[in-house]
């Protein structure tokens, strides 16, 4: 078994910030003729090297716009980095935004199977997990109601339930431990602690230094797309809080 689950090598992610977004053919030709197809570069990530081993819990901190979410998307494979390379193994469950793959016209039950398929699981696997997921989400008879009639908290609960019940190898938590009511929050923290005890790898993005200290073993601080500090979670959480 390979111990290194995720390895980023000098990753850089560049966006074209051209204020003149070309959205139509007509615009494109006008700009092409006028020589105005300008591109303004913006590096959301630069020279990021990172390796995450099985069982590690990495905390990611940084101000808004420091590149935390971009980094998560690169790790999850949503973004292909402009430069550098990413290697990953195992099932990665991204909680970048809960319930991102949900269909509003589908019922909760149908969405469980759809979302499971998005995460790459087979139908059989999902059928075996369904009861557990429904129980954890605790939505009762709402499981057979179309999602458009759910409150946002209910949607988030369902998304969270699917992601944590499918036993991924890597769990990416992007400021999501604040979903639902107090009762659900306690339950989800308990579930994550349980998963940590089983040796799951977690990448945890948060502004809450207390949570980072409690849940993580290692931490990094991002600033303007670069890793400016790296070390044990306890030390870094202290430093960041100041």
């Amino acid at each position: 078994m390979n111990d290194e689950l995720i390895k980023l090598d000098n990753v850089g992610m560049c966006f074209n910030l051209s204020s003149e977004k070309v959205d139509s053919l007509k615009e494109y030709f006008i700009k092409l003729v006028g020589g105005k197809l300008s591109y303004r570069e913006f590096w959301a990530l630069r020279d990021v090297s990172l390796s995450i081993k099985r069982g590690e819990r990495l905390g990611v901190m940084g101000l808004n716009g420091a590149g935390k979410s971009t980094l998560m998307k690169v790790i999850a494979g949503v973004f292909v980095p402009t430069e550098g390379s990413v290697k990953r193994s195992g099932v990665i469950a991204p909680l970048i935004e809960l319930g991102a793959g949900f269909d509003m016209q589908y019922t909760g039950r149908e969405n469980v199977f759809l979302y499971g398929a998005v995460l790459g699981h087979s139908k059989k696997y999902m059928q075996a997990r369904y009861e557990e997921i429904a129980e954890f989400a605790d939505l009762g008879e709402f499981m057979d109601v179309p999602l458009k009639n759910y409150s946002s908290g209910m949607r988030a609960r369902l998304g969270f339930a699917i992601a944590v019940m499918c036993e991924p190898d890597v769990l990416i938590l992007d400021e999501v431990l604040s979903v639902g009511d107090v009762k659900f929050r306690k339950k989800s923290e308990a579930r994550i602690t349980e998963m940590i005890d089983k040796g799951i790898t977690v990448i945890f993005v948060s502004h809450n230094t207390e949570q980072i200290k409690r849940l993580c073993t290692r931490a990094i601080i991002l600033e303007k797309g670069r890793i400016v500090n790296e070390g044990s979670a306890a030390e870094l959480a202290e430093a960041y809080a100041k």
């Binding site: 999850a76 995460l119 790459g120």
Partner: protein, 250 residues
Amino acid sequence: MQYTNLFCELVKKGIKLKYRRSYLGVLWSLIEPLLTMIVLTLVFGTLLDHHEASFPVYILAGRLIYGFFSQATTTALKSIRANEGLIKKVYVPKLLFPMSGICFNFILFLISLPVLFAVSLVLKCYPSVRALLIVLPLLTLFLLACGVGVTLSTMGVYFRDLEYLWNIALMLIMYTSAIFYYPDRILDSNVSWLLKFNPLFCVISSARSCIFGEAFDTWEVLYPLGFAVVFLLLGTAVFKRKENEFLLHI
């Protein structure tokens, strides 16, 4: 394959959601073409003086095939944008989106085919064994929709105008597909050769040959097949090259 299940789920979702909350549900796949056929027969049968007993079968075959083509390509064209929420958050092979859109439309099309058979029987235009050859034009039709659909789906990411342009193009395709007229009677021989360059016309024409027990026209079989394969190879290659950039543009 890890994503076979997702593909099936997406196909299932397309079919399920299409008729959700309508009382007759999937029956509409049978009723809708039947009703359209009646309207078109009444209008164009009178207007163009086509009074053959088999005219409704002729129309229905054309209308079903065109209907599938237009639905499938439009779905594919919009597929990337329609699944924006997913694409921006999770990694999935993006070719699944246009392909599943085309497949679910093809399944609905296959469901509606018994209507064609039933109408032929009612109008005493009994199909011969040759009718089984219809598999060939139907396969070509599927490949054609895939080729054109995938190509459109890439272009649709970059230029939103295409959704409107494609509607116009579809209208042109419809009129040059001879759905509700006999081209040899209406069109001058100076113009009618133009239709042979519309791959959809060729598919419709060879499908009709099967139904009416006539021989295939070689051009009408090979041209759309070649057209489909070229578009499929080209379209997939471009799609694969560009798919990583998609989410920066939607």
